[in-house]
Symmetry: C2
Subunit: 368 residues, 2 copies
């Protein structure tokens, strides 16, 4: 089989299609072979079990990193090639019973997009009404994994997710990054008419600079969801909503301004939550929850062991602990896996200075 | 590369993963090669154009039929293997710009499921508010194709779709069949309490026998959508909704009875609509719209030419024409393609007996 650029004379349509048919035959034979080997992996692990017993996030991350390394020549983008391999793995994994993944519904949310981006389509998605329920259903075993939004690149942390980890026994087993675009939707034809802009507070925040520059006098009104914002904007000539493209179509609104998010790399980050911690993939992060004894310099002492071990911290965030006034817990993200020797030592040392150190999980760093 | 069953001694996990890595390398090389050949197909057709200029439904149907023929040995189901090839074709086609597909929204509807089943995920979906709009956006060129529900296996034709063809210049370029499951959702714990059942009329119809057997005394109340039904059932202990599983999760209802559709093969059929008729795929259907001159035996005369040519009719349905009282138009589906000689002759003959014969399109018969 030769690639098209090797050809001296261009082939006609029928010849080109014959080449493609031959390639398809080979692809299909290989996918079937891959599926049989995947069954072998299952058998090597003992009697037949549910998909969750075969699923190994660290292995998936390794496979996809190899896919990206090999994809240098194109012609498909890394994103498309990774997507196809996620689907192939998803199909191979679902041979017994598909993975059940809980997420913040309804269907069509960014959370659902994150689920499908990460797990492929051979899964059973469970749209749930609240982030709370996602934790509950995973803890109860009704879902194998859950996916919850954790922060937006412009707007910061989703506290309702983060706070769950204080009391939940669940572990973080993966992170997903999803590009998010916002648009200005309205039924009127020009910006001058807009007196009110509705949106979810996170979305209003993601478009602050654009609003200041383009609608400085318009009132900004926070509502419960972007869909609700679009619904309200539908009823008045002087109102607009900030929302995704889908909402424009559902509510019959025009997109008056495209991609108005302040940062072109506007991204929402999600955690995959499950009931166990998985082995290292070779490029991992660890999330820790620590609470500090109330004395001067306590936070500094807590972080010193990580710096001393050369482990770089990628995020730190304090939240009020619900246990007492003026007590705080810290969410810390460190590069490395909890099984790494240096991490073991740092956590041990930090434990001497902290009132509590809880390992929330170690997981492969997100692929773009 | 050998298949697992050829092995004498079972491999350990690491060895099995090495085999899978080698297979993945080959799959990826072949997908990239396929994408390059797909570009060649484009170039053979002239200067670079939009995806719609490369898309050939008859060719896709042929490729997928070959996939099913080759898949006899498993281990993946035909459905999964076809899905993977649809995604590979979808990615290859989207190298310039993805296809834009209009459908009856919002996101999460059965219509969206049909779009993704048929076109794969490397497309841009446009959820629209009405079936009318789907036709309009395709006619205006804002969408390359549209997907509209046309009939359900238990409940019959969706007349709002069919009626559009009387006046629309659009053509049918494909059909999609989608399995549909209905459940009884409620917040109460047992059937005895249920006095009212809400649902869309189509869904009530799909579960008639089950309702008669299990809830003979409950009132059946038709509402605009199954989502609306679930919303209403949420507020009372004596109410239930018939809807898909998704609605249960969104509205926090229990599934009291699973898969209550009367026919286990409950299927909804969709048409893909576009602006042109495509060449034969080798296994096609043709849809015709004919109106009859008002005289005794006219319908019989209309159908005779098709029978005479040995063309089997798969569907016939009469609808009142909006042009005059007691005038009817007939939607007829015949096996074969409009370019087939026998079809040409039959249509020509039918034209002599009919007031009008309009070819709505010829398209590949749906894969399961």
């Amino acid at each position: 089989m030769s690639a098209p650029e090797d050809e001296k004379a261009p082939l006609n349509l029928a010849e080109t299609r014959e080449r493609i048919d031959a390639i398809d035959r080979d692809i299909q034979r290989l996918i079937a072979e891959r599926a049989r080997w995947a069954q072998q992996v299952g058998k090597a692990k003992g009697p037949l079990k549910a998909a969750v017993d075969y699923y190994r996030p660290e292995r998936e991350a390794q496979v996809l990193r190899m896919v990206i390394d090999r994809n240098a020549g194109g012609p498909l983008s890394n994103e498309e090639m990774v997507r196809l391999f996620r689907e192939i793995m998803s199909a191979c994994l679902a041979q017994q019973e598909p993975l059940k993944i809980g997420f913040l519904g309804p269907e069509g949310t960014f959370s659902q997009q994150a689920v499908l981006k990460h797990f492929g389509h051979s899964i059973k998605g469970l749209p749930l009404a609240t982030i709370d329920e996602v934790f509950q259903e995973v803890a109860a075993g009704n879902a194998d994994f859950g996916v919850v939004p954790i922060e937006n690149s412009s707007e910061g942390t989703v506290h309702s997710s983060l706070d769950q980890f204080v009391t939940s026994p669940l572990k973080i087993c993966g992170e997903i990054e999803l590009r998010v675009h916002q648009h200005l939707l309205t039924r009127s034809a020009n910006l001058d008419q807009i007196e009110r802009v509705y949106s979810h507070p996170q979305s209003l925040g993601q478009c602050k600079a654009w609003l200041r520059a383009n609608l400085p006098k318009a009132e900004r009104i926070a509502v419960s969801s972007n869909a609700e914002a679009a619904r309200r904007a539908r009823n008045a000539d002087d109102a607009a909503a900030i929302a995704g493209e889908t909402a424009a179509h559902i509510y019959g609104l025009k997109v008056l301004a495209h991609q108005i998010e302040d940062r072109p790399d506007n991204t929402t980050r999600f955690f995959v939550i499950g009931r166990e911690v998985f082995p290292p993939s070779g490029h991992d992060k660890t999330s820790l929850l620590m609470s500090v004894k109330d004395k001067p310099g306590a936070l500094y002492e807590l972080l010193t062991p990580f710096a001393a071990q050369g482990l770089s911290m990628t995020k730190i965030e304090s939240r009020p602990a619900r246990t007492g006034k003026w007590e705080y817990v810290f969410f810390v993200e460190v590069e490395g896996h909890i099984e790494d020797e240096r991490m073991v030592r740092a956590v041990e040392l930090a434990g001497k200075h902290a009132a509590q150190v809880k390992v929330l999980g170690s997981y492969p760093v997100a692929l773009q």
